[in-house]
């Protein structure tokens, strides 16, 4: 759980930083997308680096979901008779929404790939013009796309709020002061990542990026 989660988090950071290039203008953003395809040339073929990354991420996602499924099945088996009266949350809300939050994020990732990687669900869908794709995607008329995107990012924020802390704990964080630090790091990281991802659609929505 922790190791695959950290791999995915590293991708999330790189992806967010790449997204923010949208503020540097259409030329620069399209050039960045082109550079990603040519990364590693001439050693790697065109889009070679991207495919290595895709295979790695797919493996991490599958292992992450596999581990989560094992935990969920064990949890279900460990309590065959449910409580008639159960307090909702005494620990953390983020911790109790990991599983459903994860499902929401998975559905979003599927949509997101069909939207901005393959272009199938995008109004423009031209892989050579990623800047235009993004602007068309979050146009004010398509407010429901922005809404779904926002919901998914907030779910991701909650997932990371507990996930980052839990990963540090799984890897052996063990002092009380370290626990406070780990929780603070998880919270700040989750908020920062949410903000970084939400900047782009809202900049398009308000006309800041067009």
């Amino acid at each position: 759980m922790a190791v695959t989660g950290i791999l995915l988090v590293l991708f999330l950071i790189a992806h967010m930083l790449g997204n923010l290039k949208v503020f540097t203008g259409a030329m620069s953003f399209n050039h960045y997308a082109e550079w990603l395809r040519e990364l590693g040339a001439p050693l790697l073929p065109s889009a070679g680096f991207l495919w290595i990354q895709r295979v790695g991420l797919l493996a991490a996602v599958l292992l992450h979901i596999g581990a989560a499924t094992v935990l969920a099945l064990r949890a279900r088996a460990a309590r065959p008779v449910r409580y008639a009266h159960r307090k909702k949350v005494r620990g953390s809300y983020a911790a109790r929404t990991m599983r459903w939050g994860g499902v929401i994020i998975l559905l979003f990732v599927v949509y997101h790939i069909l939207d901005l990687t393959t272009g199938t669900l995008n109004p423009i869908g031209d892989p050579s013009r990623p800047y235009a794709n993004v602007v068309a995607d979050f146009a004010p008329a398509r407010w429901y796309v922005t809404l779904f995107y926002t919901l998914a990012i907030v779910a991701l924020g909650f997932h990371l709020r507990h996930g980052v802390f839990s990963a540090l704990r799984s890897l052996g964080q063990q002092t009380p002061r370290g626990e406070q630090r780990a929780r603070a790091v998880a919270l700040v990281f989750a908020v920062a990542l949410c903000a970084g991802y939400l900047l782009v659609p809202f900049a398009v929505l308000t006309g800041l990026v067009s």
Binding site: L71, A75, A95, G172, G178
Partner: protein, 253 residues
Amino acid sequence: MNLTLRIWRQSGPQDKGRMVTYQVDDVSPDMSFLEMLDVLNERLILAGEEPVAFDHDCREGICGMCGLMINGDAHGPQRGTTACQLHMRQFSDGDTIDIEPWRARAFPVIKDLVVNRNAFDKIIAAGGYITAPTGSAPEAHSVPVAKANADAAFESAACIGCGACVAACPNGSGMLFTAAKVTQLSLMPQGQPERYTRVIGMVDAHDEAGFGGCTNAGECTAVCPKGIPLTTIGRLNRDYLAATTKRGDTPGT
């Protein structure tokens, strides 16, 4: 105080069980929760009914026998308190109180509110001990222990094995109990020889007993009557990671 109780009644392990409603009048706010159940049982016996079975022993919060899910809270609404030390002044006149046993596959119900916590004994038997001779008390200063380690070990040793952590855990995991026992011994010089076989053995016994996996949700430490901190699970994880890289059958490792 007049209270309405909804209590889990189950005549034996094979019975399906159900919630049964009882009315208890004239409860003093100074009674403990278990004394209130005693009053109910006296009235049930006088009326010729079967009394409610529940575990209890010392009634001063140190033996770990009592354990009730009270309104969905393990050991009731007051933090850091066992059910026997919970007083009725925590409730109000006219309240309806739901009382259930711990719910876990590893803790099967024996009768009513009594569960079998043998699974904890199996975890202890798999490594919760040291092999040093324990005949007479050794000279206190012959084995120096750092104050911070002594304090942290003592904090973990306060675990009374009541099972509230399992009862509250959304995964039905007994990891806080296991981690408290691992921490208590691995921080002490006497606990070092078995340090890494202990953690593997106890986690294996934990999983075999049918407890769920830990996801660091933190519900356990919130209800623990002895306030065992969640950091103990970090200590267990670190010992476990170290143990997987060591081979106990190779000398010098």
